[in-house]
């Protein structure tokens, strides 16, 4: 029985491929190598199916510590390879039974991969999140008309005013986020808005009004981040945060900009 599988990290150009992965270690601490086919190469590592086989993967993907550790290792390999040239990141947990399967993949999607490498060459991904702080957004005028009345009616009216002003504030924050996204798209090659992460995950009380990610020319990443800082300074109520630069994970498929 075959106990070893091939974990795929990325697809790169075949030129100098082996030297680009030399010395890297992967998700199983295995030495990373390449499977080449014509002008393409897949960055791969040999992993044990006891841990990375179908049943094991399904089980392990439910284990946060495992997922976190493997996600960091997967990203570390892709990020390292991205330092030396164009890279198509492959989604985490893509495992083949043998190198022949990987070779067939490179062969069957040769044109597709070639075009994607050209599109991603010399570019990186930058994430931009925009948060709205509910306490800074809402400007309740509750205390101002506090005439000492504590009746149910005055409480309800005050409460309604608070809610209305908060709703309006959120609406304005959302519009401002739209404008920020529009501005950033002008400085990016491509970009997309992702759903905001769950608030319990972001670890912040603020509302995420924009979870954008942008494909940017590598030599313009600094300028792009400065633009984000400038946009942040121009808005009093929202806070902006960048992540990355990342390998172009979110742009590895079809181009997304409309």
């Amino acid at each position: 029985m075959n106990v070893e599988g091939i974990w795929v990290y990325a697809v790169i150009h075949g030129v100098r491929a082996q030297s680009r992965v030399c010395g890297l270690r992967g998700v199983a601490d295995e030495p990373v190598h390449v499977v080449a086919c014509d002008e393409l190469a897949a960055v791969v590592g040999v992993v044990n199916l006891d841990e990375f086989g179908q049943d094991a993967l399904r089980r392990n993907l439910e284990d946060l510590d495992w997922v976190a550790q493997k996600a960091r290792a997967h990203d570390a390999v892709i990020s390292a390879v991205a330092q030396s040239g164009a890279v198509i990141p492959v989604r985490m947990a893509t495992v083949y039974l043998d190198e022949g399967g990987v070779q067939k993949l490179l062969e069957s999607r040769r044109q597709d991969f070639g075009a994607t490498l050209t599109r991603l060459s010399g570019r990186a991904e930058v994430g931009v999140k925009v948060y709205a702080d509910p306490t800074r957004l809402a400007t309740p005028d509750a205390g101002q008309d506090d005439d000492g009345s504590r009746t149910g009616t005055s409480y309800l009216m005050r409460r309604r005013r608070e809610l209305t002003s908060r709703e309006e504030a959120y609406r304005e924050a959302a519009l401002e986020a739209d404008r920020i996204h529009g501005t950033l798209m002008r400085y990016a090659v491509d970009g997309k808005r992702k759903p905001p992460p769950d608030r319990s995950l972001s670890g912040r009380d603020e509302l995420t009004v924009l979870n954008g990610t942008y494909l940017v020319d590598s030599d313009a990443v600094g300028f792009f981040r400065e633009t984000v800082v400038a946009l942040g300074l121009s808005t009093g109520r929202l806070s902006l945060e960048t992540t990355g630069p990342w390998p172009p994970y979110s742009f590895a498929g079809e181009p997304v900009a409309e």
Binding site: G5, V8, V11, L49, F52, G53, Q54, L57, R58, L61, E62, D63, L64, D65, V67, A68, A71, R72, H74, D75, I88, P89, V90, R91, M92, A93, T94, V95, Y96, L97, G101, K104, L105, T116, E125, G127, K194, P197, D198, S200, L201, S202, G203, R204, T213, T243, W246, Y249, S250, F251, A252, G253
Partner: protein, 68 residues
């Protein structure tokens, strides 16, 4: 049982951003693979795991009476 979770806020954020990319991004390959990623909504699985981890942390501290 003490559950260990990255202490720093920024590390937790980084993990969310990372999973958002390595699990939801990257080119999807199907056919001949051990596990067809397209078949499994990995992000949901992982994020659910994250949520439940945080949830269980909170419940240990904040649970009122009950099974503790």
């Amino acid at each position: 049982m003490t559950e260990v979770f990255p202490a720093q806020e920024d590390r937790r954020i980084a993990l969310v951003d990372l999973l958002d990319r390595v699990l939801a991004g990257g080119v999807v390959i199907s056919g001949e693979v051990v596990l067809s990623i397209a078949d499994v909504d990995l992000v949901v699985i992982s994020l659910r795991t994250l949520v439940s981890s945080i949830g269980s942390l909170m419940s240990e501290d904040e649970i009122l009476g009950g099974e503790g």
